[in-house]
């Protein structure tokens, strides 16, 4: 960063603050001076000189002005950064497809590097013929394409006991939504021939943590995908290159990355990731296990703590994401007064099964403070509950599966804060 860039940034900030303090709108094309806006009246360098050639960037990154739209880590959450989590910058994104380069990561023994040539997938256990596939074998099976969200079971987990982290990225960013290409797990299981005693599959990754999980056969034969492409290209290393499991609607932990083995079994393995972890402790000390589905959930991504209102009163776009692991989003309601009154928002496109939906509510903001909330409905008739309604049933120690309604307190300066309301 050059000194002059710094100066520009600082003065821009000062200017924004000044404009907001004065209660005025921020200068844009609308704030013409007597002599005209120099960005229009004076020839700008980009209108005079040449830009970059087509050979400058064989594989591009976002323009540098967007370099705050990145994954972030919260250091105190975990013991180290290897078995840890980072967060998708959902506050800055729009639409529904998550750019892979800033889609969140969750590893238990780090992101491993596994070449296609070194990749092997084994199907064993209660099958007629245990099999080994190479990566090339997988590309010869008939393919399917689907868009699904992958949400960490722990998304919003830090908020069980109250408002903690100040930003949608941190409270709701353990999620991504991609278009996957892959082979149905069903196809591979049929290739091996599942025996009648085979009621479960145990799936594990090639990494040191293995992340083994048990999945009932009904789900395995239904919509689980063995995926090798996401958003049009190969999976990213950190997302399981070259092959991961896609388990639509179910908690992200079961989306085993670097998938190396599928064993057909007669019962669940009760592995570490489904006993010690990914079990949800209730107020009386007993714990739910096998809480696979992710319930209907939503969040306003803007305005939000990392995405304040900078333009002053007037037209305001309220937008956010909604999703359900049990079906499609059918409706999203938005409240600006902490849940006293609700308006039905507009879905950018009809909700898709187990995928993110984008909603908008266009309002005329009068500059007064708001308590912003969103409430998702899904195709089963389920309506997203409040955090208090969840706590009434579960207590505060579930860790996982917090799909309670989020509140942002927007003050008259347009700044937003993560709060809880009565």
């Amino acid at each position: 960063m050059t000194a002059s860039d710094k100066g520009t940034k600082a003065s821009r900030r000062a200017f924004l603050k000044g404009a907001l303090a004065a209660g005025g709108t921020v200068a844009g094309a609308g704030a013409a001076r007597a002599s005209g806006d120099p960005l229009i009246t004076e020839t700008q360098p980009w209108a005079q000189y040449l830009g970059e050639g087509v050979d400058a960037t064989p594989y591009g990154m976002p323009i540098r002005f967007e370099d705050d739209v990145v994954r972030r880590n919260v250091e105190w959450l975990t013991a180290d950064t290897i078995s840890s989590i980072n967060f998708t910058p959902i506050h800055a994104l729009d639409g529904t497809i998550t750019p892979q380069g800033c889609a969140f990561e969750r590893h238990h023994s780090g992101a491993i590097e596994l070449r296609k040539q070194d990749y092997r997938l084994m199907i064993n256990g209660l099958v007629d013929q245990p099999l080994v596939f190479t990566y090339d074998d997988l590309e010869r099976f008939p393919r399917e394409q689907h868009v699904y969200f992958c949400e960490c079971a722990a998304n919003t987990g830090m908020e069980w006991a109250g408002a903690q982290l100040n930003g949608a990225q941190f409270t709701h960013g353990m999620i991504h939504n991609m278009e996957y290409t892959g082979v149905p797990l069903r196809t591979l299981l049929e290739e091996a021939g599942v025996q009648t005693e085979g009621k479960w599959v145990f799936v594990e990754g090639a990494d040191a943590s293995s992340n083994g999980r048990s999945i009932p056969m009904d789900k395995a034969l239904d919509d689980v995908l063995v995926a090798f492409k996401a958003n049009g290209e190969a999976l990213r290393k950190e997302h399981g290159y070259p092959v991961r499991l896609v388990v639509p609607g179910w908690e992200g932990n079961m989306w085993v990355k670097w998938l190396r083995r599928v064993e057909v079994t007669d019962g669940p393995v009760e592995s570490r990731e489904e006993t010690s972890k990914y079990t949800d402790t209730l107020a009386d000390g007993t714990s739910r296990k096998w809480t696979w589905e992710m319930d209907a959930k939503s969040v306003v991504t803007s305005p939000s703590p990392q995405s304040p209102i900078k333009h002053g009163p007037g037209p305001l776009v309220i937008t956010g994401l909604a999703w359900s692991g049990r079906g499609a989003i059918t409706q999203v309601d938005v409240s600006i007064d902490g849940g006293k009154n609700w308006q039905t928002a507009r879905l950018a496109a009809p909700g898709q099964d187990k995928a993110l939906a984008r909603f908008y509510l266009d309002i005329e903001w009068d500059g007064s403070e708001m308590l912003l909330q969103s409430r998702a409905h899904d195709s089963t008739g389920y309506v997203q509950p409040t955090k208090d309604a969840l706590r009434e049933i579960r207590g505060e120690n579930s860790i996982y599966h917090n799909n309670g309604i989020q509140t942002w307190w927007v003050n008259s300066d347009g700044e937003a804060e993560n709060v809880e309301v009565s």
């Binding site: 078995s83 099976f141 570490r272 000390g285 714990s287 509950p385």
Partner: protein, 214 residues
């Protein structure tokens, strides 16, 4: 040989290949290999290979997981979940240690070493005496305190009926009060005194990029 399946893709997995990858141990002991290890042997191994993160007595160091303690805390405000206080099956401890520990150097423990380390974890949880030796044969005799502490997901019965009721759309409550604020707790990373998340993130990025170039 190619598969007999509809597409004839893949090849038969050989027994030695299955043996190399198929390691998991089920709650009923299926998958356990022959072997044995004593608490005393486990104590030595634990101190050498595990204690740096998990503590000499499996009590945990810093943010690393404790493996012992926390008995009768599951209904507390801050439950302490360990092998002794929480894990339902001993098979999981054997399987996980064997497959994924030590962290950063996994799959380096022999079967007997895993038996010994698991025996020491049991001892640290006051579940066996110091002269105990864990073997394939007595494995299922060990009683796990929280074996009955789990229920299968019951949201369908306990939550779904409540949360499928028609929601209120207007005049839903008289008062709304802010009861908690994240800014008061102030644990969100990369905040600066001026309180602009966005700007501070940009600066942090640029600083990191500068270091990378240098």
């Amino acid at each position: 040989a190619a598969s007999d399946g509809p597409y004839g893709l893949g090849r038969e997995a050989l027994p030695e290949e299955i043996a190399a990858w198929n390691h998991e141990v089920m709650p009923d002991g299926t998958g356990l290999p022959e072997g044995a290890g004593s608490v005393e042997e486990g104590e030595m191994l634990f101190s050498e290979k595990c204690a740096v993160c998990h503590g000499d007595f499996a009590e945990g160091v810093g943010n690393w997981p404790p493996l012992a303690g926390g008995e009768d805390t599951l209904a507390d405000k801050d439950p302490v979940k360990t092998v002794g206080s929480y894990w339902p099956y001993l098979s999981t401890a054997w399987d996980y240690v064997h497959r994924s520990m030590p962290y950063g150097n996994a799959q380096t423990l022999s079967d007997d070493e895993v038996y010994a380390i698991v025996a020491y974890i049991l001892y640290s949880n006051y579940l066996v005496e110091y002269d105990f030796t864990l073997t394939k044969d007595n494995f299922l005799d060990v009683e796990m305190p929280n074996a009955d502490g789990f229920i299968v997901d019951d949201r369908e019965e306990t939550e779904f009926p409540t949360f499928t009721q028609e929601p209120c759309m207007s005049d839903c409550k008289d008062e709304v009060e802010i009861t908690m604020r994240a800014a008061v707790l102030d644990v969100t990373p990369e905040e600066e005194s001026e309180g602009e998340d966005q700007a501070s993130a940009e600066q942090a990025q640029e600083a990191a990029a500068g270091e990378g170039a240098a």
